[in-house]
């Protein structure tokens, strides 16, 4: 408590000793900052939305600005963007890919189909990816524009920054 009295808050949660080059912060803040700053999604396109996901990663929108680079293997990814329709045949595989990812992991359901099945209320399509995956963020649209995806990623970063004590007790 003594620390709080003698320091001033320069950003939410980050405190500095006045006049000294020392920043006092909690370990949560630092780790969440790192996680939000290097959010690596998996290269996993399912359908139409995957094209918009690729467009978001390409020159015009450039996800690399936010430190977001696509990784090809689930073992090295933090974020699963379910981009497109998940059919029943595909659903176990999506779940397996999710299970292969290391903690902490996040899921964005991108597009109407991933959110709720969209226009495809048919025998073959899973009605929403949330039936078998814990979804962090729903992004509707058919397909959502790249700006929408960027907004979703920024919102996810906000969500990550609010997490506490999520550093290592999954083992």
């Amino acid at each position: 408590m003594g620390v709080e009295k003698s320091t001033i808050e320069i950003a939410p949660g980050v405190r500095q000793v006045p006049g000294a080059p020392v920043v006092v912060t909690t370990i949560d803040k630092v780790i969440n900052w790192a996680r939000a700053g290097s959010l690596w999604p998996l290269t996993f396109g399912l359908a139409c939305c995957a094209i918009e996901m690729m467009a978001t990663g390409a020159s015009h929108y450039d996800l690399d600005r936010y430190g977001i680079i696509f990784r090809a293997t689930p073992r090295q990814a933090d974020l699963l963007i379910v981009a497109g329709t998940v059919t029943k045949k595909m659903a176990p595989i999506v779940r397996r890919v999710y299970d292969q990812m290391p903690e902490p992991k996040y899921v964005i359901a991108m597009g109407s189909c991933a959110c709720s099945g969209g226009i495809f209320k048919t025998y073959a399509v899973a009605q929403g990816v949330d039936q078998f995956l814990p979804v962090d963020l729903y992004l509707p649209g058919c397909p959502p524009r790249p700006e929408a995806l960027i907004y979703a990623l920024l919102q996810l970063q906000e969500k990550i920054k609010k997490e506490t004590k999520r550093w290592g007790y999954w083992r």
Binding site: V30, I31, W33, A34, R35, G37, S38, S59, D62, D64, R65, Y66, G67, I69, R71, A72, T73, R75, Q76, D78, Q100, P102, E103, P104, W167, G168, W170, R171
Partner: protein, 326 residues
């Protein structure tokens, strides 16, 4: 006795400094790569994490440190644990032998060149073992590719370096640089043009960089040998790759580009020219990554055995002949 202690102190201090500096270089090499490639591709590259994205490598590292470290059920555990360390240590130790400037070399041994060569071929063991231990078919294929690649390119590289040794008459890296400074052209680049060409291509192949990034070809083998690695173990592989680039560039600078020597002396910064040359070579690595497609596995072998090794041999022969005549 006092001498010994002070020697030891300077040795340790130098090691720590070099380790920190080179680790920072490696970390920021990833950042530089992302920035430079982004510029070449009409993008911006990282610019949100920290000022101008400068904290990006730190964030990446911190995130990877705190990520879950998955050990898949069927892996060969001891080998799986140790492989990334083999990779990193073998790739990184070479930097200790490179003379940054005349009076700064951590370990000035007489067989320096040989030692670096040995280390760089050992670092392939990390790759092969990780491919084997992962119990994944992609990783296995990646490991196989890596071993074949190392065998074929190590020879070409040694042949290129052998001509340098022949010219300098020493295996000590410092002596090689001194011999270069005393030679008529000041650098071995000009008399050893073929050798330099062979060396730089083999070095790219040695570091598994595009267009020779077959062991980890992302569009073919997903991530190649480190497909099952996550968290910090993956980061070690990542570091090893960039460390390898750094060591290879430093070696090229030492053996072909005249080490610390430059057209004029820069006061107080004796390693200036060394660093500039290394940066130029690193930029070259990044540049070809942005431009070239990837070779196929058998074409890579063809290039190694049918082009580079004969070229290296011819170069060695010519060098020996010139040495004999003059």
């Amino acid at each position: 006795m006092e001498d010994l202690w002070s020697n030891l102190f300077w040795f340790l201090a130098g090691t720590v400094i070099l380790l920190i500096v080179s680790l920072l270089h490696v970390a920021y090499l990833t950042y530089a790569e992302r920035k430079i490639i982004a510029r070449m591709q009409q993008r911006l590259g990282p610019n949100r994490v920290g000022p101008r994205g400068l904290l990006q490598p730190i964030a990446d590292m911190l995130k990877l440190l705190t990520k879950e470290d998955i050990i898949p059920a069927q892996v060969d555990k001891p080998v799986f644990y140790i492989a990334p360390f083999i990779s990193l240590v073998c790739a990184g130790t070479g930097i200790a032998l490179v003379p940054l400037w005349e009076n700064f070399v951590i370990s000035n041994i007489n067989v320096g060149l040989l030692f670096i060569l040995a280390l760089s071929s050992l670092s392939a063991y990390g790759v092969i073992l990780s491919g084997w231990a992962s119990n994944s078919r992609y990783a296995f294929l990646g490991g196989l590719r890596a071993s074949a690649q190392v065998i074929s390119y190590e020879i070409a590289m040694s042949l290129a370096l052998l001509s340098v040794v022949l010219m300098a008459g020493s295996l000590n890296l410092g002596d090689i640089v001194r011999a270069q400074i005393n030679s008529p052209f000041k650098v071995y680049l000009i008399p050893q043009l073929i050798g330099f060409f062979v060396f730089i291509i083999s070095a790219v192949a040695e570091c598994n960089r595009t267009p020779f990034d077959l062991p980890e070809a992302e569009t073919e083998l997903v991530a190649g040998y480190f497909v099952e690695y996550s968290g910090m173990r993956f980061a070690l592989f990542y570091l090893a790759e960039y460390f390898g680039m750094l060591v290879m560039s430093a070696l090229a600078v030492t053996c072909f580009l005249g080490g610390w020597a430059g057209p004029f002396e820069v006061p107080y910064v004796p390693f200036f020219w060394f660093v500039v040359k290394v940066y130029a070579l690193l930029f070259f690595y990044i540049w070809i990554r942005a431009t070239l497609p990837r070779y196929r596995y058998d074409q890579l072998m063809d290039l190694g055995w049918k082009v580079l090794i004969p070229l290296g041999l011819i170069n060695l022969f010519l060098t020996a002949l010139i040495k004999l005549i003059f």
